[in-house]
Amino acid sequence: MSVQRNAVIFAWILLFPAVLYVTVIVAYPLVDTFILSFTDASLKKTTNWVGWVNYGKIFNSTFAEVIFRTFVWTFFSVSIKMIIGVFGATMLNSAVPGRALFRVLTMPPWVVPMAIGIFMWGWMYNGQFGMISGMLQRLGLASGPVAFLAEGSTAFWATIITDVWIGVPLVTLYMLAAMQAIPQDLYEAAWTDGAGRFYRFRRITLPLIVPSMITMSMLSLIATFNSFDIIWILTRGGPSGETTTMIIDTYRTAIGSNKYGEGAARAVLICIFLSIFCLCYFRVTSRLASGDKR
């Protein structure tokens, strides 16, 4: 129908600049990466077509472990980010004096260049000199220095917490914006019906920010899945590879060892995994979002 067609044309006009820009800048590198993944590209000047060999190489013994770890790491990081972000947004959404300041004070982890923030966490985790270990000892909760990055299990969580820390401001900010868009009279109606603050939060705020939560968690998922600096700076994927995620693995291969072909294959694989995952996630959550079945 032509009303529709007009609208569609207009939609494309609106989209055109963004699409064009992204295509021009990113399409070539993406395609190049894809092609690269079938070659043995490295520092060598010549590259040869090797077909699926690179993909074959990925599936070695540790691969399943890395994949699994990546998903677990991402899952916890994103969930915690969302929980803390929604919590923070709720607090900052209350009409209390000083909230403008508090809102701004949430932002530093995100504003500070990532590496710096990670260094600061590195110190905090330091067993000998770090704040956390120090405080624990002060409070008598630990008898000696606790080196959080020494054990696979603690390092795993330490990296997650750092990732959460860096991601929380954005989530908070976005959730805050989502909460602000909820019409006041819904709260008023619920309030007159006797719903307390928590109940209102659960039945009105939460369901109404679900679309925003889905979007945010998905963007966050992608970013987290590809989160590199944190693990790299804090643990380099160690100890004993226990914080090695796919992206660390990819980086090691592509940049560390200059095996661009193999690295590209891993990158493509990440993209495929993420695409499948996002698709499923979207399917499931959009059904969830459309029904308030308590």
């Binding site: 067993g127 590879g241 661009y260």
Partner: protein
């Protein structure tokens, strides 16, 4: 027509001494300009590599000598052969660090060796003789044990974080026990000498700083500076820092393993690599040689505090050592020292080594098994 040699320079800013000599060289070579680009330590080598891989190499870059083999094999750099005289001017074994396929691929510009630092106060508290540092691994382990048990403070600082340096530290042990990782093209790591080193790691771990896998060398050094560990192995930079503390310290050659032939250490050099395809290769070589010639280099490396070890023996060095005897152990180790093993996929190799060390330190694997596994893995990285 003016020509330019771009130089990726690692660090925060150009050393004034280099600046001075760049000017001098430019003066002598009218029309030529050297344009250093300062890039942080973490990224400088990656940047040089990326640029080369993308087809726009820089004229010259400051890189770890260990990467030369890979660059050379991939035809990214040009050889910088040394004359015999030149070779001879260096301390022994140094030229090996830049040699591959019988020729030299870089000009050494920085050099570091390690020695053992010990905390005399802690030795005293533990009832040990504060003036006699351990000479062998056995003594080292025993001293560490004594300190740990008597004072409750860690006896030894073992860095085992997933960092380059973890392998370096281990290589010191390998080289103080006459071990070898690769011989020509053959992996010879699975040897009793290396196994002994790994076993020693296992033995000293209980008396080391808690959570070895959380620390790399700078962090361990900080702990030492804080007086919270009895012994560490570190470069010359630690001495400069120790002078600012109240700690009673000494520095000695690295203790030796049972199969040692003499004092050893890992010889790490950084080099100036000259990239291929810039059109200014010859001039770049010329400049590289100039800036690392005994005059400028000597001035550069003996500023102290930078943690460098002199590349070449010279009267000036002797004078320097005399003035500050704490330099001696660093130079002593050179004789039986060994280079960083050259691998095509150096990072791959390094990862395997780190993995091996960590598995032993954390008790996840027995030294023999870990060694065997690693030896098998690194074969792929030659």
């Amino acid at each position: 027509a003016g020509q330019e040699i771009s130089w990726i320079y690692c660090g925060d800013k150009i050393d004034p001494i280099h600046e001075k000599y760049i000017k001098e060289w430019e003066g002598k070579n009218p029309g030529w300009k050297v344009t250093p680009e300062v890039v942080g330590w973490e990224q400088c080598q990656d940047k040089a590599t990326t640029l080369a891989a993308a087809g726009t190499p820089v004229g010259m870059a400051y890189v770890g000598s260990r990467t030369l083999k890979e660059f050379a094999q991939n035809d990214l750099i040009v050889p910088v052969p040394m004359t015999d005289d030149e070779k001879k001017s260096y301390y022994p074994n140094i030229v090996d660090t830049v040699t591959f396929n019988g020729t030299q691929w870089g000009v050494p510009v920085a050099f570091s060796t390690k020695a053992l630092y010990w905390n005399k106060d802690l030795f005293k508290q533990a009832g040990l003789d504060p003036e006699s540092p351990p000479k062998t691994w056995a003594e080292e382990i025993a001293d560490a044990k004594a300190i740990k048990e008597k004072t409750g403070i860690a006896g030894y600082g073992l860095p085992a974080k997933t960092f380059d340096n973890t392998m370096h530290q281990f290589m010191h042990w390998v080289y103080t026990n006459n071990g070898k990782v690769i011989d020509g093209d053959k992996i010879v790591m699975d040897s009793p000498e290396v196994l002994a080193a790994l076993q020693a790691y296992k033995d000293i771990t209980p008396y080391s700083v808690e959570g070895a896998t959380a620390y790399e060398q700078n962090e361990i050094r900080a702990i030492f500076l804080d007086g919270k560990v009895g012994m560490i192995q570190a470069g010359s930079g630690a001495a400069a820092r120790l002078k600012d503390t109240k700690i009673n310290w000494g520095v000695a050659p690295l203790p030796l393993g049972p199969s040692a032939k003499g004092k050893g250490t890992l010889l790490i050099t950084d080099s100036l690599a000259v990239f291929k395809g810039t059109g200014v290769e010859d001039k770049a070589i010329e400049f590289a040689k100039f800036i690392t010639s005994p005059g400028p280099q000597g001035e550069y490396e003996l500023q102290g505090g930078a943690g460098l070890t002199p590349l070449r023996p010279s009267p000036k060095v002797d004078e320097f050592v005399k003035a500050d005897p704490s330099w001696q152990p660093f130079i002593d180790g050179i004789a039986f020292g060994g280079p960083e093993p050259l691998f095509t996929d150096y990072k791959g190799f390094q990862n395997s080594m780190i993995e091996m060390v960590q598995s032993v330190v954390t008790g996840k694997a027995e030294p023999a098994d870990a060694l065997k596994k690693a030896a098998g893995e690194i074969d792929a990285f030659k």
